[in-house]
Symmetry: C2
Subunit: 492 residues, 2 copies
Amino acid sequence: MTSKSSDVRPRPAAGIEHWDYEADVVVAGFGVAGASAAVEAATAGADVLVLERTGGWGGAAAMAGGFIYLGGGTPLQKACGFDDTALNMKAFMKAALGPGVDEPKIDAYCEGSVDHYHWLADECGVPFKASFWGEPGWEPPGDDGLQYTGGENAAPFAATIPPAPRGHVPQMQDKHVSSEKGGGYMLMKPLTDKAAALGVRAEYDMRVQTLVTDEDGRVVGVVAKQYGKEVTVRARRGVVLATGSFAYNQAMVEAYAPRLLNRPAASIEEHDGRAIQMSQALGADLAHMDATEVAFFCDPQLFIRGILVNGRGQRYINEDTYPGRVGQATLIENQNQAFLIIDEEAYEAGMAAPSSSPQLKRKPRWVCETVAELEAEMGLPEGALQSTVEVYNRHAQQGADPLLGKKAEWVKPIGSPIAALDLRNSTGGFTLGGLRTSVDSEVLHVSGDPIPGLFAAGRCTAGVSAGGYASGASLGDGSFFGRRAGRSAAKA
Amino acid sequence: MTSKSSDVRPRPAAGIEHWDYEADVVVAGFGVAGASAAVEAATAGADVLVLERTGGWGGAAAMAGGFIYLGGGTPLQKACGFDDTALNMKAFMKAALGPGVDEPKIDAYCEGSVDHYHWLADECGVPFKASFWGEPGWEPPGDDGLQYTGGENAAPFAATIPPAPRGHVPQMQDKHVSSEKGGGYMLMKPLTDKAAALGVRAEYDMRVQTLVTDEDGRVVGVVAKQYGKEVTVRARRGVVLATGSFAYNQAMVEAYAPRLLNRPAASIEEHDGRAIQMSQALGADLAHMDATEVAFFCDPQLFIRGILVNGRGQRYINEDTYPGRVGQATLIENQNQAFLIIDEEAYEAGMAAPSSSPQLKRKPRWVCETVAELEAEMGLPEGALQSTVEVYNRHAQQGADPLLGKKAEWVKPIGSPIAALDLRNSTGGFTLGGLRTSVDSEVLHVSGDPIPGLFAAGRCTAGVSAGGYASGASLGDGSFFGRRAGRSAAKA
């Protein structure tokens, strides 16, 4: 048995002869969780050093659409005419992101959400435009600031939990000119500017290798590699881990979330899970390691206008819900098999509808005059698809979808010509599980106690999601609990 | 933050003033993995002490049906007229127990399977009766020794992987007189007799609390509680952990396998996950923590004769497969919603068919003359169930099930009167994930290196299953890798 990565083991501080860098709070990773931690630690008076593996700040966040899941009545929600309460937000998150959600974390997140909005907008200068995008889509095609991003206004949630849109996206600048000014960039630029203004230092090309502990087991620094050379970094108060998910660690994905094997998405190659492993070597506990965000590579403007069927020709989800729920249901519950059944008129309407994802305007694979022909061409057993369409159409004539509860406005009988889009194996995503942390972002030992000096946030931790997902929950809990990690470390 | 179970942290050997017990190899848990480890360690010349939490040997194994998943051409398979090869066994296990299976472990398991049979039968005296039970069922109702227990002879596997029955069950004695002489008992009695004959000592009412390590990090003992008093146990060569799953640790189930919350089955309250946590405190790695065996509480003799539909009235699995696959598909892919649709004649036949589980001969909830009436009574949308039955019957008239591939012998049009059994929330099970171990049953540190002196097997480890399951895989890998744990510890 050869050692695969034995340097994830902690190094004893007594063996460190020289510290190359030193700060009160050392933050690993300059994505959304790391930047939020840095700002708050610096605001609390700490001298902060961020170690970033790549050549610049941003992480996966800067490349993301930029949604932050916020609610409870934010100024943006109010300006767009939506009521929301922390109570409704909690109810939705607990229903949609489980089973097995971390309830204290969701409670803290929802109760602090309006404050978090103010911090982002007022303290850090993240711009939000007070306009609502109400069309189906992964993201607004323009610079609108608010969208439904969790299926709040769709079955099965809308019937019992008053819905509100909670996807807050920073206002994009010249979106069509440069992808570098999308919502994620417009979140990260102000956050990192703020960090710089507060005196936060950053070292780039710094790969964190392992943690340094003193004789009492307290984390007092990290060992990193910079330009291939090992460097030591002393943390006088605490270390914050914020290095992202394990979506690009093949062995970890195989061991914990194998359905996601070879299909990482919305994540970056730096997401190698090392922060998780370094912490496991200290006895850190884990949670929800199988949980995954799942993108579904088709424009919702298309699939909301038809019916999604699985490999048996059966409908399995209301097509008007959050497309990430469609992705999860397809990958986890339907063997990654999906087809969109849609008539020509609806397809054309979907193609013409605005979308921020033109590459997801997928083409039909089969087009026929009748459902029977389509069914045969798709290789489905006789009657399998015909019966699905017949039952759907029967109710659609009354504008109803009693099987899955799609909203009446999107329910319309499927006519002819009829097409099928082949959406098999059209999913990808990132991992949501990781280190178990307290509501104050302390990394918890398997004993239940915090590991002294060690804090974490973002996708190296298990955050508010336990399996379900809503767009914005990751930048949301990354920034929210990133801030708490920074504050906790600063006073440690 | 108060400490929940801080004593899972390792104790330094230097702080132990007195060892209450001492042995070369200390085995925690006297179920199938522990007994197998004890026998092999003793056979290798080690002085062995087993620490068992309850008042007697047996663990969950002694209460189980007793299946051991074996193949590759065992004497029992041959005596019953079945061909099998290690290659076919590997192909099946890799296809059925994944995704993400530990391939080296499956390879070792399949290549060593015939030898393992000989060890069980010839070395240890586990009795197997050379008779095959070919009816649908969880277990043979009598004392037959061989059964299909993984869906090998059903879709989708049978078409590409030559099937063979691999569920080997020890011959029961007076089964109807005493449940203490079921297959699991008849496995554990010979194993523990063999251990005793080899001089293995056992201490009962011993709750292992944590591991003891020396200054190099080697595991050199355990701390336990006996009759409420803390005792120390020195392991001169190694410690083997074999204390079962975490199915009864509510916090762990919530964090890792929340779909199983409040529905443990085929497990015992002693399965508290402590061995996993004690090892995590040493930096042990984990795998497949979400994987679960899922029992489905209905007699296969009933459901094979009808069609299973989900909460939308859709079929979702071939009813002639391994019932554990039905359980997994129901719980994980269909929101734990299932109904059995069956006509009177088939129901009566199923009720009359032999079964080892009379309590699973469930009663109908609704009985109607027509499918339309049944559909309405069940509260399904008009057409949802009618179309399912219509399409099934259309093909069943030709003896075919093109949708899901149920074998022709079980395909028969559904007539009238027609009934529905309410099988919602009729699942339960145990966890399959746990410590990551090598093929030699060394507990692996997150670095990839073995933790010196620490070995494990059975359900506190991730064994051959990564999510899928076959009956006998748990007693199978528990005994197989339990033996390896004992041998590895004896020579450590």
